[in-house]
Symmetry: C2
Subunit: 500 residues, 2 copies
């Protein structure tokens, strides 16, 4: 089938208005938030329901044309950038199908904007806890495809942990209907976890059953001033040991991060009178109405037992929101200080202070004047280890050092048994880094799964894994004989030398 | 390699004392808890560490001899019964490798007895919540391989949700080291969830990193008398809506179940003065010391707002344990009433009362005098829908009706979007039922995963899925020659046409 006849076939079923080929219509789907990548596409299609997604995927598969699914196109790793095939936009699949208070579940289509899912839960008196900066424009299908994290992971887990069931269009256009609202189901292999976090490379998520939670009766927010990352870790251990999952946030900011927020965020007010090396934003949620009083008592204990230097408790919702705004505006204000080299990494919580110390020292030693802006979800061990350029340096010259800083930061993460891709995913930006750090056996398993579910390599090719690397043999001792135990290496003759 | 030389090779590495072939030594590993199945095996091997497990699997793979892993051999679905190959007992891999309070994680080997894991957590001032009747003898590797449920799922999830990382021996003897203690990790496909719940058919779990939790400051237990399953559902909704995950148990017993416990359990005392159609055992956990007072208040609300007929609050730990003992002895006391036909099923929580009503009526209509003993984890939608034989009927004649009752019960479960295998797994006992009820697309995906990870079908063959059914083509309507890039998929001409 020619590309032209494929486009005609899609237009006949979806309607010409929903098969975009004009450059101006297609352009927004080729670009990516940070401007790091720009793709190309034959067309952008906008199916209105699962059956139309399935139709489009099937027709593309028949024509051997790759497809890439897009939700809100807010990803940070280039995972949604097309490489010449068809973009399937899920924005029209935006219905909340059902919500059941007793089951505490909501069934939504992939194109629902995250804030809409939160709102639907809220209107039913329940909480959908997934929350992240782009929640007003990202779509739940993308959140699931990337296993999104955000600010509520400490208590509620990642997007994966919020998922009970999925509906997925497979590489050949078949639909797997796994939309179950069950709390226990061991009837066969767990398929949903295969698709969550696979960034559209194993299937296209079209709908999901998600968990809802009771709303806390009260919440309280505080801001801590601390002497160091180690002091922050002690404070975290103190609080988590006492209140467990009711500690719903423990976000970390170093001095530099707070200073640039105060410098660039209109209306920002310094939360504590003094100056501290490190800060933490803490949120306590309670089923009782007195989270404020409880957190106040905990703060006193922190200062006394753990040597926290200072702390302030928000006295109103408005004050609490103002504290959160300091944290949430960080990604944006960094731009005012020039170029940023970003790393989204995780280590075991117990090692997060060690990581911050080592990585900060190594980066500062590697480039004079570089400013470490390492902040984030400290309680999850997840740090956005960002580097702001030295003042006055050429922006592009600074960004050219990205690979060098990758090596420094990711080597330390690797030594600490951490992850080089904590919550944003792999996409394009981390793909080659993944090949470098991932256990070869794990990489081989990933290749096997990709080959099993997408044998023609048509689903978002080149993302997460390099295109078309074929797995080795699972029985060592067979030809080629010397491959015993080598596991993850690709078969001889395939066109990439990954994973060694 | 002959079987003899395989045994010799294994004995040379593991030591002859740990390669059992004498019928008396092998016998305990062929039998299964309920006596429903009896297998055969060439040998039972007892490796002492992961490297020895890997060695044994690799040697068996080379000889094309199947392997089945066994932990405590307490499974209820025949999943650990060997069919002629080598049994790999993991009982010597019983070390707690590490425990980290700040990470709230414990790293254990597969052969650790569950109670030992609980105890190690307890000694560190933390909670490992997985809890089930066989916890004194089941081993954590088996709990993970079957994604065990139990009594704490309502608040803490299944074994799957408690797992952060795994170490797995693959079909060819390679070891995947995924022992990570990370709360966020999107560096590639999630592999651990593939192995959890796969019943040893995709790999053999040798170690795991598990989540620990703060211990509740207090717990309170109550017993409710209710007019019906619907009244139980209303009570559950009332409590869960008010206390969320602090409701750590909501277990259901119908009148018949309580009556047989009182009849057969030595020392059992009727918990409520009156007689009720249904009962619920309720547990509240609190981070504050006053769970008892809080539950007392909730019980008053239940009687007033939801029409609960009666309730009693345990006034001491001993009273609480006595109430739990009524629930926990149910499986055992059923045997005193004759043969039992058992179903381990789940439906969405909102439909659990409807399920109980419909399935009870249908079974009672199908056989005069049959006694429905349907109890269990009501709050998870998980019911052990057991049938006790009519008094005086021949036991074997009753058990012969098992397939007929499967059809009745499982048809209703299926209509209610439920699962025919909730927490015990599939093994042998549900395998053919799974083929009947599972979505063909899901079955095809399962076959593909099996073929990708165990292409020679050597890992616990015949469990979960039938032996050696190979997947169909992922591009329907096409001929085999175009299998370009088909990677992991098995060659055309394979001997089955499954899953179409």
């Amino acid at each position: 089938m020619s590309n032209k006849s494929l486009i005609d076939t899609l237009a006949a079923r979806l309607g010409a208005a929903h098969v975009l080929t004009a450059p101006d219509d297609v352009a927004p789907h080729l670009a990516e938030t940070r401007g790091l990548y720009r793709g190309e596409a034959l067309a952008v299609v906008r199916p209105r329901d699962t059956a139309e997604v399935a139709f489009a995927v099937r027709e593309c598969a028949r024509a051997r044309v790759p497809v890439v699914a897009q939700g809100g196109n807010t990803g940070l790793v280039g995972g949604g950038v097309p490489a010449g095939g068809v973009v399937i936009s899920l924005s029209r699949l935006d219905r909340v199908r059902t919500l059941d208070v007793l089951d505490a579940t909501i069934t939504v289509e992939a194109g629902c904007v995250l804030a809409r899912v939160q709102q639907a839960a809220d209107e039913a008196g329940l909480l959908f806890p997934l929350s992240l900066a782009s929640e007003g424009s990202c779509r739940i299908g993308g959140n699931l495809a990337t296993n999104a994290g955000g600010t509520a992971v400490l208590a509620y887990g990642n997007a994966r942990e919020l998922t009970l069931g999925l509906e997925v269009v497979l590489a050949d256009g078949r639909v797997w209907n796994g939309l179950r609202a069950l709390r226990k189901d061991n009837a066969g292999y767990d398929l949903k976890h295969l698709f969550v976090g696979s960034e559209g490379t194993l299937g296209i998520i079209t709908a999901a059953v998600l968990k809802l939670f009771p709303k806390p009766a009260s919440r309280a927010t505080a801001f801590l001033g601390l002497a160091s990352a180690r002091a922050a870790l002690a404070a975290f251990g103190h609080l988590r040991g006492r209140v467990g999952p009711r500690l719903t946030a423990f976000e970390y900011l170093p001095r530099f991060a707070l200073e640039i927020v105060l410098r660039h965020l209109p209306g920002a007010v310094r939360p504590l009178a003094g100056d501290h090396a490190a800060y933490a934003l803490v949120e306590l949620s309670s089923p009782a109405p007195d989270a404020g009083a409880e957190l106040e008592g905990l703060l006193a204990g922190l200062i006394e037992a753990e040597g926290a230097e200072d702390a302030v408790l928000a006295q109103s919702d408005a004050q609490g929101r103002a504290l959160w705004r300091l944290r949430e505006s960080l990604s944006e204000v960094q731009g005012h200080e020039g170029g940023s080299i970003k790393h989204d990494v995780a280590v075991p919580v117990s090692r997060v202070a060690e990581f911050l110390e080592r990585a900060t020292a190594a980066c500062e030693a590697a480039m004079q004047g570089v400013r470490v802006c390492a902040f984030g979800h400290f309680g999850d061990g997840n740090i956005h280890f960002n580097l702001t350029q030295p003042p006055g340096m050429d922006r592009m010259a600074f960004l050219a050092a990205w690979p060098r800083f990758n090596r420094i930061v990711h080597d330390i993460v690797h030594e600490l048994d951490g992850s080089i891709a904590a919550e944003h995913g792999v996409g394009l930006i981390k793909r080659d880094e993944l090949l470098r750090y991932k256990d070869p056996v794990a990489l081989d398993l990933m290749h096997r799964l990709k080959a099993a579910l997408d044998p023609h390599g048509l689903l978002n090719p080149g993302k997460v894994l390099p295109d078309r690397v074929l797995p080795g043999d699972l029985l060592p001792g067979e030809a080629p004989p010397e491959r015993e135990g080598s596991g993850g290496a690709p078969a001889a003759g395939s066109r990439s030398g990954a994973a060694a």
